[in-house]
């Protein structure tokens, strides 16, 4: 995964991507989540989407493998706005920027656009389109379905196309500053990246304890109501999302200091998750009954 290579071997900027390749990349961006998974989320789909560009840029096999390796790290953003990240990353790849710089820009750009994407698409476009078209469909008018497809698909493809071109030229025009100030910029961008990773540790981290310790009963309006000590509530009083933070730091320790492979960490977490649910420690969005009945998991 983490390639040790810091710079590309061939530092001659590649030819700018031609129109045809850009169109190909915009269409390919729809495959971002083809291999979505829990560990790296969109990483492999992201790599697959930008491969046509990378193959054009890195004609030398060593550089292509270095580029593919660092583009296979954790990645998650909104699917419709991903082309913004694609454009800027590919413009940096094309100019053969330092790998650390490219990584830092990629990580810093993936977080915030997710938020804009959600607001724009899920909370605006879908409800409006659904409101107009669903009633047509319910009244038996097939044009409702067709209109829905045209509006939603048309809007997202236009957005993808515009964002790609906008950010590709943005990256190209920023490059002269970046190369002159590569060292400073990489430090700054890594800092921004670490800041964003800190934020997504909290924002994407949803692991919580489901332990409810029975604590006697009280009389409310003549009825006995059971009391519980909510352990997660106590933890939230100390630091919300402490469990995700601790687990991230644990993985960091294992990967960095103990040289564990990511796959080994995945298996550890798999065991933690399933054994934890067997004895009713974790909270889950799907209600579940632990394998063995425990006092802290009331029915």
């Amino acid at each position: 995964m983490a390639s040790n290579q810091l710079m590309y071997k061939d530092l001659t900027p590649a030819k700018p991507l031609d129109k045809k390749t850009i169109n190909h990349l915009v269409w390919k961006s729809t495959m971002l989540q083809a291999s979505f998974n829990y560990e790296r989320m969109q990483a492999a789909g992201w790599l697959w989407s930008i491969l046509p560009g990378l193959e054009k840029i890195h004609t030398n096999k060593e550089d292509l493998s270095a580029s593919m390796s660092h583009n296979l790290e954790f990645f998650n953003t909104h699917t419709y706005t991903v082309t913004f990240v694609m454009g800027i990353v590919l413009s940096l790849e094309q100019q053969k920027a330092e790998i650390g710089t490219i990584r830092a820009v990629r990580v810093a750009a993936m977080g915030p656009l997710g938020g804009i994407g959600d607001a724009l698409i899920w909370f605006t476009l879908y409800p409006i389109a659904a409101g107009i078209c669903a009633n047509m469909a319910i009244n038996g008018n097939p044009f409702g379905s067709l209109l829905y497809f045209i509006v939603v698909f048309g809007a997202q493809m236009a957005l993808r196309y515009w964002l790609f071109n906008m950010s590709y030229s943005l990256g190209t025009s920023a490059i002269s500053v970046l190369t002159k100030r590569a060292k400073e910029f990489t430090h700054t961008a890594s800092m921004l990246g670490v800041f964003v990773v800190g934020a997504i540790t909290c924002n994407y981290g949803a692991t919580a304890l489901g332990i409810m310790i029975p604590n006697g009963t009280t009389l409310v309006d003549g009825e006995e109501v059971a009391n519980y000590i909510d352990v997660q509530g106590l933890i939230n009083g100390i630091l919300p999302a402490m469990v995700p933070l601790m687990l991230t730091l644990m993985c960091y320790y294992l990967v960095k200091k103990r040289n564990w492979t990511p796959t080994r960490c995945i298996f550890l977490l798999l065991v933690l998750g399933i054994v934890g649910c067997a004895i009713g420690i974790w909270a889950s969005s799907d209600p579940y009954t632990p394998l063995i009945s425990v006092p802290w998991k009331p029915q």
Partner: protein, 264 residues
Amino acid sequence: MDFIQIILLAVVTFIFAIDQYSLTEVIYRPIIACPIVGLILGNPTVGLVVGGTYELMMVGSMPVGGAQPPNSVIGGVVAMIFAIKSDFSVEEALGSSVIFALFGQYAVTLTFSFISILMGKADQYAAKADTKGITRINFISMAFLGTLFALMAILAYVGGVSVSPMLKEFSDTYSWIMAGLGVAGGMMRYVGFAVLLKIMLANDMWGIYFAGFVLAALLGNVPATAGATLLSVALVGVAIAIYDFTVSCKISDMNQGGGMSDGI
């Protein structure tokens, strides 16, 4: 006739399953998927009614922030099968499909866990610059998800409502395994974070990491700002970044005896 219907149903469900995450990300929506299933089963009008109703139901439950509604692809396909083959009313059909939709979610959990394990293989392909290998990983992933969904559609078609009690019993008995898989799935992203930190985190950046964490915890727990958490965090981050960049440029200019540049 039935045989052709089963084949077509399996094929479109396979496509819808993939479409809910890639491809168009539109045709899996009930308002489009249900009429298509209706066409296959011989009654597109029912498809429009079920699809329109389901679509309106879904507008309230979007997959935002990681929370997933019971799977709408399986929900829609199975509701259509019940509405047309078992002559259920729209409400009955949607109601009876809920347990299947839960299994749709199980299938998604299973797929996302399975693909996590493939990532080690993907790393090996990347190290060898094997672009075909990366393509293969993506195709295997899509085929895995699509096949699980197609099998469930066939099960609903062949078994009808009578399968429901069996599914219900299974999910009651083994709910802890599926919940455990879901919880473990929710944890696996921490490995992804850890690997990023391993590479990017210089020793002087621990404070920045925790600052980002705390800022997201603050903004994310206030209803008014929760929706814009990451955007707000990024804006604060950019402010710090510009300052850092300007200052470090000035310092390096002074060290070189220059001092003419204004940074950005």
